[in-house]
Symmetry: C2
Subunit: 453 residues, 2 copies
């Protein structure tokens, strides 16, 4: 029976004590990453200049469960478990028979789901004696999260922030500095990768791919320094499964099982974190939800990209990963959902999509911000630009339920709040936001740079 409450809380003693790895439960294993020079599968040694041993093991593990260390749980306790909320006020506005639940990750100190992986990444590096982490950030959510996490263990943090975001979001820079991080606008003069881009395009707005190249370059070869990535990789998605594990339990408290799961996909970590525990249940035949990825129409990796081996960064330093990509040279228009501006997609999410276990749709930003205003005026929370896509997709589904006269249980993740993204709302409210047209030609050009294996 459905519970009458709107918010489903767990106690800190109920934080999951293990992360869930979906790899052993998939019908076939995902294609391995390849060395950029030899095109052979990468081994642990190839990754050692970038990551600590424990994270390399997690990247490659086929174990179903990975224990969460006590030193990580101690910090998770600051904000986890996060609430699961039934959006009753939004349902009422939509006059829909559907039930809409959202798992709210904006309660973390950084305001998004990113600390779920930033904290263990900092912890494992610290445990292996690393003193400094480098990283990139797009919208600023990931950089803020890593800055917060490194502060917890007394480490240094150096962040390359995509130039367009660096200029548009001084508040984000300040927040990272509050946690003690050092910031650089990317492309920067500090790395060979940055200098190369600036020589070719002096006014480059930057991209996540470029910033990754810079942060990777700044980490390799420094004994006390490693690199941290906020999405895409297997170990990142692994850490994010705390979202889905908690949501499973909370939805059970609410007396419901999901019919439709929708999540926004940029690099894929929020999506994977929410979805994988439910996908396990689906593969085991214990539930049968439709699983749907939602991506921005201006960066439509799954719906318009190709499933190919491509680099994770812009200049070809990282291993080649089999994923849906628009080409590693793709520089998306500076839409406001900065965190979704990535040319590729997590290999695990790409693999799940190729296996037919998830479907995908893309939505333009005007529809997303229209949905966000409906959400804010009913549920109170002002969403970050990224999850406005998830909300728009949930609303589409709820309206379909109304048209069909059926009640379905919809679950999504509200992966962060928008307090530091008011610039996007300002341009929307002033009527200056439009949907950008991405031509096939632009995508073809970017794909031309992808290596043929």
């Amino acid at each position: 029976m459905t519970d009458e409450r709107s918010t489903f809380l767990l106690d800190e003693t109920q934080i999951p004590t293990q992360w869930y790895n979906i790899v052993p439960d998939l019908p076939e294993p995902p294609p391995p990453p390849l060395h950029p020079g030899t095109h052979e599968p990468v081994g642990p040694d190839d990754l050692a200049p970038l990551f600590p041993q424990a994270l390399i093991e997690q990247e490659m593990t086929t174990e179903r469960w990975v224990d969460i260390p006590g030193g990580v749980l101690d910090v998770y306790r600051i904000w986890r478990p996060s609430p699961l909320v039934r959006a009753r006020r939004l349902e009422k506005l939509l006059d829909t028979p559907a039930k809409i639940y959202f798992k709210y990750e904006g309660v973390s100190p950084a305001g998004s789901h990113k600390p779920n992986t930033a904290v263990p990444q900092a912890w494992y590096n610290h445990a292996e004696g690393v003193q400094r982490l480098t990283t990139e950030t797009g919208a600023g959510q990931w950089g803020t999260s890593l800055a917060f996490a490194t502060a917890q263990y007394g480490m240094d943090c150096e962040v390359w922030q995509v130039r367009s975001s660096y200029d548009q979001k001084p508040a984000r820079r300040t927040m990272m500095e509050i946690y003690g991080a050092t910031l650089h606008a990317s492309p920067s003069e500090l790395t060979e990768a940055g200098r190369g881009i600036l020589a070719a395009t002096p006014d480059s707005p930057g991209s996540l791919g470029i910033a990754i190249s810079e942060a990777v370059e700044a980490a390799v070869g420094r004994e006390d320094t490693r690199y941290a990535l906020g999405s895409v990789l297997n170990h990142v998605l692994l850490h994010q499964t705390v979202i889905g594990e908690e949501a499973l339990r909370q939805l059970e408290m609410a007396g419901d099982t999901p019919d439709v799961l929708v999540g926004c996909t940029g690099g894929g970590s929020n999506f994977g974190g929410l979805i994988f525990p439910f996908l396990r249940e689906k593969l085991a035949g214990r539930m049968d939800p439709t699983i749907r990825c939602v991506e921005p129409a201006s960066c439509p990796t799954l719906t318009r990209g190709e499933y190919r081996y491509d680099f994770g960064d812009a200049v070809g330093m990282t291993p080649l990963m089999k994923m849906h990509t628009l080409g590693h040279g793709f520089v998306p228009d500076p839409i406001h959902a900065g965190g979704l501006r990535y040319h590729g997609m997590a290999p695990l999410v790409s693999h799940v999509y190729e296996l037919g276990l998830a479907e995908a749709e893309s939505i333009g930003q005007v529809e997303c911000f229209t949905a966000a205003l409906m959400f804010a005026r009913t549920q109170g929370i002002v969403p970050a630009p990224e999850p406005t896509h998830a909300i728009a997709a949930a609303i589409r589904e709820a309206q379909k339920c109304k048209e069909e006269g059926v009640s379905r249980t919809i679950l999504t993740a509200l992966c962060g709040h928008g307090h530091l993204d008011m610039g996007a709302y300002e341009s929307f409210l002033a009527g200056r936001m439009t949907d950008l047209d991405l031509s096939d030609e632009t995508i073809r050009e970017a794909m031309a740079g992808v290596p043929t294996l």
Copy 2:
């Protein structure tokens, strides 16, 4: 026995169902507000152009408990009950034997404690047929809260925002507009009060007092419009007691009783909301905490003001209230804790202070932001400028405990997050923030304008 957890949560079914009115429990009643013309105690009719009947009754009631309407509880449920957190990581950094608890009100949609009263104020007005509310806002917290609350009941909201804040915080304006409010910089050309100030001081940075005059003027005489105040008045403090009532229960869950309560005081609503339920317990002999108000050194109402009848606004339209005041013409330096920039103090808090039931101290902003950085880097949350004062005071007390080698239980309220106040942190991190020197002469000059009764 002290609980080992750090976060103490209540379920939405445990939201208090009554607000607590401290008036009947005080050793003597507070002096009544006086009519600005006749200097006689104001009656309900005097307030009718400004407030709905239900709120006027609450302003004057001597009943100990007031039922919270179901339509208010429905909206409270969006974020209440708020968590009580033991700041174990801060305690560790300070190496103190003290226990530091904070009640965190930043989980509300507006990010502060203000929706606790904005929601019932909107509800009662709506119930009596009012279609539009006017108000003022300093830092923007109150305007955001009322904008959120009016959106819940389909009402219009018009906000006069203090000019200095309006210019410095475009993100705040956007957030109010997301909820559907209409914004004006104060002083504005839209009211007689505003035009008068602009004629005398064209580049006036504004003040809460001036903005109140404008919002009041815009409400009186319009049948469909009333005015809403975010602090100072009895009914506002009444609504805020949900904070203290929940905290009482949560501290009991934690197995502790408070030795010291510290709260930041601007208009007094956050302080009263946290403290009054504990003061009731103290007056009844069930506990005996020290109760301490903390105010900014640049707006030291309790520590350097006088206890006199003064106007609540800048131009003398409101009733005269017996309170600690720096003079209604006092325009504080534009320090960053905008919400604490008010010339007066809630009459109920002033009365409690005069009765010797609370003590007061003032702290400069550099110490406050230093404390805020320690807090953010341990507990994760970036505090709003206002509660940095409460945190600085809690840290002072914890350090005293260390010096004395005694463990005391400290409780404070973290009344909001600072996501929309990054400008203040930016100036602090850049070393541009200094402590302002407020001369006795400045206070004397402002006090000269206070009427002699």
